[in-house]
C-alpha cells in the first residue's frame, strides 16, 4: 500500500516537472531592436539617486569603452565629447545611469566566501543621434567571490558590450 502511494507521489512529481511549458528566452524579454550602427558613443556614467564613488564611475566608463572595443562590431567607439562623433551618420549613443550600488568587502568575501558581495545596477539607454530611444535595458555588475570591488564594473561592462554588440553591431565580432 505504502509502496503504491510513494510511486504515485513520485509519478505526480515527475509529471508536474515535465508538464510546465519550457520558458523560451524570447518570451522573457521583448525582441530587441535591430538597428545597425557603425559607431557608438559612450557617455559618462551618471548617478542621480545613488552616491557612487568616483573610482567606480570612472571604472564603469573606462571598462565599458574597453569592452566595446574588445568585442568589436563597431568601426568607432567614441567617448563623451568627442568631436569626431558629430560626423558619424549611423551613431548610437549609450546613456548609463546607476540605479543601485552596494559596496561589499573584499576581505569579507575572502574570509567568508558567502558575504561581502559588491553589486551595481545600471539602467542602459541606447538612443540614436537625435536622442530617440531605441533600446533600454537594466544590467547588473557584481563580484561575488574573487577580486576587488572594482571588478563589478568589469562584469557590467562585459554585459553592456555584449548587449550593444548583439543589437547594433554592423560587422561581426573581431
Amino acid at each position: 500500500m505504502k509502496r503504491a502511494l510513494y510511486a504515485t507521489v513520485f509519478a505526480v512529481l515527475l509529471l508536474s516537472a515535465h508538464a510546465a511549458p519550457p520558458r523560451l528566452p524570447a518570451q522573457a524579454a521583448p525582441p530587441p531592436a535591430k538597428k545597425k550602427a557603425s559607431a557608438i558613443q559612450v557617455l559618462m556614467i551618471t548617478s542621480d539617486e545613488i552616491k557612487l564613488p568616483a573610482e567606480f564611475q570612472i571604472s564603469l566608463y573606462e571598462n565599458l569603452i574597453q569592452q566595446l572595443e574588445k568585442q568589436g562590431g563597431f568601426l568607432h567607439v567614441y567617448r563623451e565629447g568627442d568631436r569626431n562623433a558629430d560626423g558619424a551618420a549611423d551613431l548610437v549613443v549609450l546613456h548609463s545611469t546607476v540605479r543601485g550600488f552596494k559596496k561589499g568587502s573584499e576581505m569579507a568575501r575572502n574570509v567568508t566566501t558567502v558575504s561581502g558581495k559588491t553589486s551595481i545596477d545600471v539602467h542602459c539607454q541606447f538612443t540614436d543621434k537625435d536622442g530617440k530611444s531605441v533600446l533600454e535595458r537594466d544590467l547588473n555588475g557584481k563580484v561575488q567571490f574573487f577580486g576587488g570591488n572594482l571588478r563589478a564594473t568589469l562584469d557590467f561592462a562585459r554585459k553592456a558590450a555584449k548587449l550593444a554588440h548583439d543589437n547594433f553591431a554592423a560587422s561581426p565580432a573581431s
Binding site: A54, I58, R79
Partner: protein, 177 residues
C-alpha cells in the same frame, strides 16, 4: 601525523610571509609618487606600477617602457578617496588561497590602507577620459593640491587639514554627480 601536517602548513605560511615581506620593503618609494595605474591611461595596461610626476605643465606617468603625458589644463576633475587592499595580492595572493587549514583566508585579513586618486581629462578631440591611481596612504591629498595649484580643476575643494587622509568628512569623500 596531525602535528607534522600542521608544522608543514606553518612552514608554508611563514615561507609565503617571508617571500612577500622582503619585496614590499624594497618597493617603498624613495622619492616622488610611486603609484599603480588601475585603469584609464591610454596605452598603459591595467594595474601597472610606475611614477607619477608633475613636469612642464603636464601630469606624467612613467613605467618601464611606457610614458604617458596628460596636460594639466585638460584635467577637469581630481578626486581623492581612501581604500584598502590585500597585502598578499597578485600571483602570490592567488596561491595563498590553496594554503591548508584556511591559511589563505587568514592571510586575506592582512590589508594595507591606500589612497585613491581619480582624474577626469579631455583628449585633443574633446573626448572624456578617466584614470584611477592608487598610492600610499597620505600621498593623494598633497598631490591633488599640487595638481590644482598648477591649473587642474576639481569639484571637491581641497581640505585645509589635508595632512591626514583619514580625517576627511564623509561629504568630501564622495563625488556628487
Amino acid at each position: 601525523m596531525i602535528l607534522r601536517s600542521m608544522r608543514r602548513a606553518t612552514v608554508f605560511l611563514i615561507g609565503i610571509l617571508g617571500s612577500t615581506a622582503l619585496p614590499s620593503v624594497a618597493q617603498q618609494p624613495a622619492a616622488g609618487n610611486k603609484v599603480v595605474q588601475v585603469t584609464g591611461l591610454a596605452g598603459v595596461k591595467t594595474n601597472t606600477s610606475g611614477n607619477l610626476t608633475l613636469e612642464n605643465g603636464s601630469l606624467q606617468f612613467a613605467s618601464s617602457g611606457t610614458k604617458v603625458s596628460v596636460p594639466i589644463h585638460s584635467v577637469e576633475d581630481v578626486i581623492t578617496e581612501n581604500d584598502s587592499q590585500r597585502v598578499f595580492r597578485g600571483t602570490i595572493g592567488t596561491l595563498t588561497m590553496f594554503a591548508p587549514y584556511g591559511g589563505g583566508r587568514f592571510l586575506s585579513l592582512f590589508r594595507a590602507k591606500i589612497d585613491t586618486l581619480t582624474i577626469q581629462y579631455r583628449d585633443t578631440d574633446g573626448g572624456l577620459h578617466g584614470a584611477i591611481f592608487t598610492m600610499p596612504l597620505g600621498k593623494a591629498d598633497p598631490f591633488k593640491k599640487d595638481l590644482v595649484s598648477q591649473g587642474a580643476r576639481t569639484t571637491i575643494p581641497i581640505q585645509d587639514d589635508s595632512g591626514s587622509s583619514n580625517t576627511k568628512p564623509d561629504a568630501a569623500k564622495e563625488k556628487k554627480p
